[in-house]
């Protein structure tokens, strides 16, 4: 990364209200993922430069938390809940449906960039289990057929 780029991202972080305090590392990663879609190597470099710490230190923290992704996400984001309530109501079937239908596993993106998929532990709508979230919208009481339909809707959209 060139010095200009580092300065540019520093200004961007400042503008977003960050001060350079070490405690801001996780919010910074969240901000970067929010604005860039994922934590790219450039992102790690920019954040490390901004906080004055090593890139390894940024990776140490980022890789600990399930929220951060290091691969370019797809157009549509699919989350299948595998929390307890959803497990009891057949959440695993839904995850299997994704493997079989989209041929991707937890954390991957389809080759055509249409979908990325992540397993999560509870979206807080347990009484409506099993639950799937697509692009921020939660679908309740899901089964394989319903999930296939939802995926199809998004594929065409």
């Amino acid at each position: 990364m060139t010095v200009e780029r580092l300065i540019q991202s520093r200004d961007e972080f400042w503008a977003a209200g960050f001060t350079g305090d070490l405690a801001e590392l996780i919010p910074l990663l969240q901000y970067y993922q929010e604005t860039h879609g994922y934590i790219s190597p450039e992102g790690v470099e920019a954040i490390a430069g901004f906080l004055g710490i090593s890139e390894a230190r940024v990776y140490t923290v980022a890789s600990f938390y399930a929220q951060f992704r290091f691969q370019k996400p797809g157009k549509n984001h699919v989350f299948v809940c595998l929390g307890t309530a959803c497990h009891v109501q057949g959440g695993v079937d839904l995850a299997n449906e994704i493997h079989e239908h989209l041929h991707i596993r937890n954390g991957e993106t389809t080759p055509d960039g249409q979908f990325d998929f992540k397993e999560v532990a509870c979206l807080g709508c347990c009484a409506q289990a099993a639950v799937v979230e697509v692009n921020g919208k939660i679908y309740a009481k899901m089964n394989r057929e319903k999930l296939r339909k939802v995926l199809k809707e998004h594929q065409h959209a």
């Binding site: 929390g83 807080g124 709508c125 409506q128």
Partner: protein, 632 residues
């Protein structure tokens, strides 16, 4: 102090809900949205336009009975609020048309009303809180959830928000802690540590500045009490934090929120903004000389960050790894300073305690477990949702009265989430308290209750929980890192049919080491699901190991489906969904299932209304024999 503010808020709120125009309330918390509340809301707007009627629409939080979502209430001018359940867009149109044009409240369609007894008589509608699920409950923490508009400050203020804070200012820090001692509130995050003692310790700790942290990192998968409170009444949590901050002499508060709860985060941030604008946060709050700031920090998806020392590490920008205690956070917490960490619900209970007094709070619950506690009741009960009960109520009351029982025979209830235990039917008469749960080998935890029936396999559940603990273990201490792995691998072996008799002993030994030697509560309690189910459901483990049979028809390798002729009514529902046409039979006559074609997708089990499709040991069914013959 707040009289003027409150009076104005009351006026504005009354104008908004005044009884010369209809008011429509709709529950748009995450759970309502999942059930389709936003589509219903859209339909309401369109219908109003079509009908040419004016009405005020107010979005409210979750009132609890999630199985009734989406819930829509209508208050016609001068009349009580009437609630309708499972309101699809079409149903919304129908109800609005009747109510708004002819004034017909459609009593047959109403779920209940929020008015007084005379309204019951005149309308022919039952009170909402008389619903079987709600009647045995006691609502203190959830009192306003689903009733008020959580994004409208006037709504909160006019229903008594910050009254507890006002009283707290008159009592002073020592008085507050005394009141908390009288109330006997115990931490709702799981361990049940007396809240007043924690506050006392934080107050007397030396070191400045002090911090208040609200633990809203509800990590228990299958529980949503904190989410519902944050989405339904965020000011209650803020008020609790303010009171705590004043009592211990802190200057800053942080709400550590789970990132998977975007709506809760949004509503909390909004509430914080409202509190700043009204002088309830910032400098010299209500002329008391007390300064306090609150900010939100989002977690990043790690269960272990619910543990207080890991949470602090996460706040400091580190990996969320717990450290040994003592020193406790009240001595050395965030940035090495004294820090008060309480659960969201603990803070949410504080305003009521201060407002009504410790004695009042004590009238609920038992002597050693005072007050009420929220639980999320999910799984196979008829009614599911968020409940609040006085502690000491029995599990049976919760499952049978509030939950309405299970459709198929009850098997077990998991309390305390992934670190809790699985309790069988003959323990249902146990009162729910911190101590009794621990004695049974489970924990109270933060309040997840998952009910399982015969279609749930206890070995598979144990595998699930241990798998969760294994992937969420931070890896810092060996007993937890290796122990969860041993448990997980052993259970995976058992559910895939490779179990050996000595496996049970191996798990017992691993569990013991983990209990004794792990650094934090995760490792210490991660074996609870295994040990408790071994204690109460040992037979199922033995069937898995010796007979290679899963009677609940969950562990794919260990059963074949069969249709019980005495249960099957021949409705044909299973035939329609079977992707392999493996089920045959005349209508109204018992069906048969061809195991050679069956792929165990379990679509038929899900649609069977009488639970006639069950598991049988492998190789005992007709289809299999035919296959065996063919092979010869």
């Amino acid at each position: 102090m707040l009289e003027k503010l409150r009076l104005e808020a009351q006026q504005r709120w009354q104008e908004r809900t005044s009884h010369n125009q209809a008011v429509i309330y709709i529950g748009t918390a995450s759970c309502g949205r999942a059930a389709g509340a936003l589509e219903t809301l859209q339909a309401i707007r369109e219908t109003l336009q079509d009908l040419g009627k004016e009405a005020r629409i107010i979005e409210v939080g979750c009132i609890g009975p999630c199985y009734l979502e989406p819930l829509m209430d209508i208050a016609l001018p001068g009349l009580a609020r009437v609630s309708y359940a499972n309101v699809t867009p079409a149903k919304a149109r129908q109800i609005l048309a009747a109510c708004l044009t002819t004034g017909d409240l459609l009593p047959g369609k109403a779920a209940g009303h929020f008015g007084d007894d005379s309204f019951t008589r005149t309308s022919g509608i039952q009170p909402f809180f008389d619903l079987p699920m709600l009647k045995p409950q006691q609502r203190i923490i959830l009192q306003k959830c689903g009733i008020i508009d959580p994004e409208d400050f006037d709504s909160a203020l006019s229903t008594g928000a910050y009254k507890g804070l006002e009283r707290a200012f008159t009592l002073g820090p020592e008085g507050i802690i005394l009141e908390m001692q009288q109330a006997g509130l115990r931490g709702r995050g799981g361990a049940g540590f007396p809240t007043f003692r924690k506050w006392q310790a934080a107050r007397t700790a030396t070191g400045k500045p002090k911090y208040v942290v609200c633990n809203a990192d509800e990590g228990d998968p299958g529980a949503f009490m904190n989410r519902a409170l944050l989405e339904g009444d965020p000011h209650a949590v803020l008020e609790g934090m303010l009171i705590g901050g004043y009592a211990i002499g802190a200057r800053e508060g942080i709400v550590y929120m789970r990132a998977e709860y975007p709506l809760a985060v949004k509503r909390m941030c909004k509430a914080i903004g409202q509190a700043y604008n009204s002088g309830l946060l910032g400098c010299n709050i209500c002329n008391s000389g007390f300064d306090f700031d609150i900010r939100v920090q989002e977690g990043a998806g790690a269960f272990v960050c619910g543990e207080e020392t890991a949470l602090i590490a996460s706040l400091e920008g580190l990996r969320g790894m717990p450290r040994p205690r003592p020193p406790y956070p009240t001595d050395r917490g965030y940035k090495g300073k004294p820090t008060l960490i309480n659960n969201t619900e603990s803070f949410g209970t504080v305003p009521a305690v201060l407002r009504e007094g410790g004695e009042w709070f004590r009238q609920f619950g038992t002597a050693s477990n005072p007050g009420t506690k929220t639980f999320s009741l999910v799984g196979k009960t008829r009614y599911t949702g968020l409940i609040e009960i006085p502690l000491g109520m029995t599990l049976r009351q919760v499952v049978e009265e509030i939950g309405g029982g299970t459709r198929f025979p009850f098997k077990a209830i998991q309390t305390g989430g992934p670190l809790g235990g699985c309790l069988p039917a003959d323990r249902l008469d146990t009162p729910i308290t911190y101590e009794t749960m621990r004695e049974l080998g489970s924990i109270m935890g933060s309040g997840g209750l998952i009910v399982m029936d015969e279609s749930t396999c206890n070995v598979d559940m144990a595998r699930y929980f241990v798998g969760f603990a294994c992937s969420e273990s931070c890896g810092n201490c060996t007993p937890c890192r290796v122990g969860t792995r041993i448990l997980k691998d052993t259970l995976e072996k058992i559910v895939s049919g490779e179990g050996e008799p000595e496996d049970l002993e191996v798990m017992q030994r691993a569990a013991e080491t983990m209990n004794n030697a792990s650094l934090c509560g995760l490792g210490q309690a991660a074996s609870n699901p295994v040990i408790s189910s071994l204690k109460y459901f040992r037979q199922e483990y033995e069937e898995h190991i010796h007979q290679k049979f899963c009677r609940s028809a969950v562990c794919t390798e260990l059963f074949e489906y069969t249709i019980l002729p005495e249960r099957c009514t021949g409705c044909g529902a299973c035939v329609k969904v079977c992707p392999e046409t493996a089920i045959h039979g005349e209508r109204k006559q018992a069906h048969t299932l061809d195991t050679t074609r069956c792929v165990k997708c379990n679509a038929c089990v899900r649609v069977c209304p009488v639970h006639a499709i069950v598991g049988a040991p492998v190789g005992t069914q007709a289809g299999t024999t035919r296959l065996a013959e063919a092979a010869i």
